[in-house]
Amino acid sequence: MVGDNMINVYLPNNSLQGSEIPFYLIWQGSENIDLMIIEYPDDIEIKEIYNVSEGNFRIENSILYISKVDVNGYLGIKFVSKLTKPLVKKNIQVKIYKNNQLIYNEVKSIRLFRPEVELYNIPQHISINVLESKNTIKINISDKIKVANSGEGTAVLTLKCLEESQIKKYDPMGIDEFRKKFWNDVEKKIYNLKETYPEYASLLFAFVDFGKNPPVFEKSALAKIKEVFEGLIGAFEENEAFFEEFARIILTSYLKNISIVTELESFLIYLKSVYENKIIFIDAVNVIKVSTTPMKLRTKLYITDFAYNEYKPIDLGDITLISNKEFELPLYALFDFGIINRG
């Protein structure tokens, strides 16, 4: 008889929604099992089954029936979760039968989480008052766009100015110059690298393309980002020499173009891009030009997370901006990413 303590069932306690979830059962190889039933929730689907052959399993209504494993003592499954409510607890039930008798019955739970970005305030008009004294500048902003993340997952946000927007965002600092020079340098060197490693050519070009033209978080781009990054990591793992060459290119291009200013600026950007309630705002470096003439800002807020999930972009509508003088305003100054209670 197989006792409970002879069966080891693994399911992680938690997982970011949209990512893969491993699951396995290990039991004493000498024990023959007639049937295993794995019942899982609708928010999860099976991606792969390990150590089982065709004809020895079936899936019906989110229940997996396994009559035989290839090598006794092990069953592996890879699940993938779908996007659902921001935080849910789900159960997977495992039943094992031997000689038509239920000999093992256990429920394993997993918490599935994700970010939940909500807009609390979208002003239609924002007035900017720049108070310049002899020694200081003080900026008063009449109203802010209030965004909060009430989920447990980190939200990565970027703002896209639409075609019809009279105000466009841009990068005012030396970091942009550095970035351009850096990527041009990398691109040149990558051309040579692809000669040695033609099998990675498409990955390398896609990588440079992301660097030169940072994508918006739309489904196709996110899928491509995921593919390229995972592809590169895979390539580094399988080919150490390629990794070393690649790292050398990045490092030499970096050192060639870096300056003290970049070092300081990059830390400032870093500090301005992260917010307390698990928000990373990647536009921290960018500014907009405001002036005494009222102008329309027409934007969409794009959201993704650490599992490259795509969320519906938030249309911020028309926001009219007016300032008492022409001024370069940091984009983050328009936002309030205040903490809200996640409990």
Partner: protein, 325 residues
């Protein structure tokens, strides 16, 4: 070619890759055995795969006969080898001049071997199909930790195909399977950097930059800097940045992580965030922690836990900014 759902569910394409490579590995090991048996008695064999370098490592213990050996050399031309080592079990001192490498393998100079002695022969071959490890093992790690108190990240390694590893001599061991977990550090750094320090950085960055405005702007910046010089951290900006950077050095950062269960810590490096357009992060939002585990036929799955001791990192950050308090 699009796979049907069953083939995809059972990862048939990967199974073919694994079966082909294992067959090739066994062809080499069996040929080695056969050749050795012509002169010696094989006492033990072990096969393992060194995952980071994708290497087949085959070791055999054998005993030489009491009688004299007549042939001079034994040829093992079953594929290009990476490394071969031969040593008597008692001394474990490699007999380097007993081995010579050939175009397609190696040779043992039998004259260099003692009679009636136990030897250990170790041979390493590169596994040519680079897809092999990924086709054989499923690797998953948690993308993000849950909760605010303690940051924990799970890691799992599990065989996709087990029956292909079932061989006559039992265990094929897969050693040092690498796992990278991105440990989030950005929040703790952000929260611990005092606002006055950020202001000093802003002024310093503007002054050093060629992009700052006209005379008025310059005057204002100098005035601000003068004002800030009376404040804390003045003149220490670069030292503080350096100390902060030190926290992300592997030797320092490894103190803030603890790898438990079936995995062990191997290394750490600055993380690469997919949303960053600078691929060499000066200031990492994550640290990539590399952990390793082993799998074999008798242990087809392993799970590990990586704990990020963020309170220790926070203490270090506080120490940097509270010096002299």
């Amino acid at each position: 070619m699009k796979m049907d759902p069953i083939s995809s569910l059972l990862s048939y394409a990967g199974k073919e890759v694994v079966a082909k490579t294992v067959k090739e590995m066994l062809r080499k090991s069996k040929n080695i055995d056969k050749t050795l048996r012509e002169e010696f008695k094989i006492l033990g064999r072990e096969m393992r795969i060194e995952c980071p370098q994708s290497i087949q490592h085959y070791s055999i213990t054998f005993k030489t006969k009491k009688s004299r050996v007549f042939s001079k050399k034994q040829k093992f031309n079953f594929g290009k080898v990476r490394r071969v080592s031969l040593q008597p079990i008692i001394s474990l001192q490699p007999i380097t001049d007993a081995i010579s490498y050939t175009e397609n393998g190696f040779e043992i100079n039998l004259k260099r071997l003692e009679q009636d002695t136990l030897y250990l022969l170790e041979i390493e071959y590169f596994i040519e199909d680079r897809r092999f490890i990924d086709a054989l093992i499923n690797k998953n790690v948690s993308r993000e930790s849950f909760g605010d108190e303690q940051y924990e990240y799970w890691m799992v390694a599990q065989f996709k195909h087990l029956n292909v590893l079932k061989q006559e001599f039992g265990v094929i061991e897969l050693k040092d399977i690498d796992f990278g977990v991105d440990v989030s550090v950005y929040n703790d750094i952000k929260m611990k950097v005092p606002s006055i320090f950020t202001k000093q950085l802003e002024v310093a960055a503007k002054l050093l930059s060629k992009h700052h405005g006209g005379r008025d702007e310059q005057f204002r910046l100098y005035w601000q800097l003068q004002h800030l010089q009376r404040a804390k951290y003045s003149g220490e900006v670069f030292q503080i940045l350096e100390q902060l950077q030190d926290l992300f050095l592997p030797l320092t950062f490894k103190r803030f992580v603890d790898v438990q269960k079936d995995f062990h810590f191997y290394d750490c490096e600055r993380g690469q965030d997919f949303y960053e357009t600078l691929p060499f992060p000066t200031w990492p939002k994550t640290m990539k922690v590399i952990s390793r585990t082993d799998l074999n036929f008798n242990r087809p799955a392993a799970d590990g836990l990586l704990i990020f001791k963020r309170k220790d990192l926070i203490k270090n950050l506080e120490r940097i900014f509270n010096k002299g308090d």
